[in-house]
Symmetry: C2
């Protein structure tokens, strides 16, 4: 998606010797809602024929994108929660996720009542790198016996192993910007 | 807002002897995007004349509502983060928040570059009860020297002290559903 690639070139910042891409001025801290809208539209162009019944994402930065995309699909959005709160009753699907950004392992969960075997689920998230969050969501969809339609990702770090590992399972992953390489000297190169 | 009150009556669940209102089938775990849209529209009706330049919310459940509302205001949305990640550079505004739902104290933060003294900020969140999260956001807006336009809240537990304490500071708080009392026996009564 040219619009997103151009925005990353313009406003993305590379940190930690090329390990971290900061897109927090438009994607995951401050949000350009108009850009989200174009992203949502593009996900609908890609997955609109798939009879999606639920969009599933994970807190926190996936939620806004999923909600805006949900307007195009006209289906409920579910966000997997990262910690057990008082507001979830007993029955939940869970998965363990290792966070690269936060440097820890945490549980994610979705209340069982919201994912049914008849559901056709589209996963949406802002980033795909090591694939841990996405694999957690996939595990939850499988636990529910629902059909996994695929995953819509904003930015994929294609030089990290997550995307290839998940696609090799036959899962459709559509990333709107796929980064081949990045460094503080040379900037971002897309696939 | 009648639509939200009716939805709470229909799908809200009261737990823990009247202490907890679960709205996770439509507001803060599974999301009814069409309802979010009506909520966003209502916030715009209430605050649309206030020359809002930024919407500020807090992860996680505020993000979706703020993004959908952001479409009406046509301004960027910022969500305060709950933990320091590798993706925030040094300069941040912070505040401490005590979470009733999670039973702990945590820091919230917003990168300084996204809140300017010239900004007119609307706060948006899903719940107002003890007011801790909202007061954290207010502290951040003040730290930035920005103008606080007010707060748009979906559900206020009016029998808890947050709303009154914040309004008594002269801050405009608009809650779309204000709960006077709730109990497992009698259900929810609105103000």
């Amino acid at each position: 998606m040219k619009l997103l690639e151009e925005r990353i070139q313009k406003d993305g910042k590379i940190r930690d010797g090329g390990a971290v891409l900061k897109v927090d001025s438009f994607l995951n801290h401050q949000i350009d809602v108009e850009l989200y809208n174009e992203i949502g539209k593009e996900f609908f162009r890609l997955f609109g024929d798939e009879k999606v019944t639920k969009i599933l994402t994970i807190e926190a930065s996936g939620i806004g994108i999923a909600c805006i995309a949900g307007q195009y699909f006209d289906v409920p959005v579910i966000f997997a929660k990262k910690s057990k709160t008082k507001n979830i009753d007993g029955g939940v699907y869970t998965a363990q996720v290792e966070s690269f950004t936060h440097g820890r392992i945490y549980d994610i969960m979705v209340a069982r009542e919201f994912l049914l075997p008849t559901d056709r689920v589209l996963l949406i998230d802002d980033f795909l790198a090591n694939g841990a969050a996405l694999e957690g969501l996939i595990q939850i969809v499988r636990g529910a016996g629902a059909t996994l339609v695929g995953a819509g990702i904003c930015v994929e770090k294609a030089f990290q192993p997550g995307g290839e590992r998940i696609r090799s399972q036959g899962i459709r992953v559509e990333s709107l910007a796929r980064i081949r390489s990045m460094s503080e000297e040379k900037g971002v190169e897309f696939c």
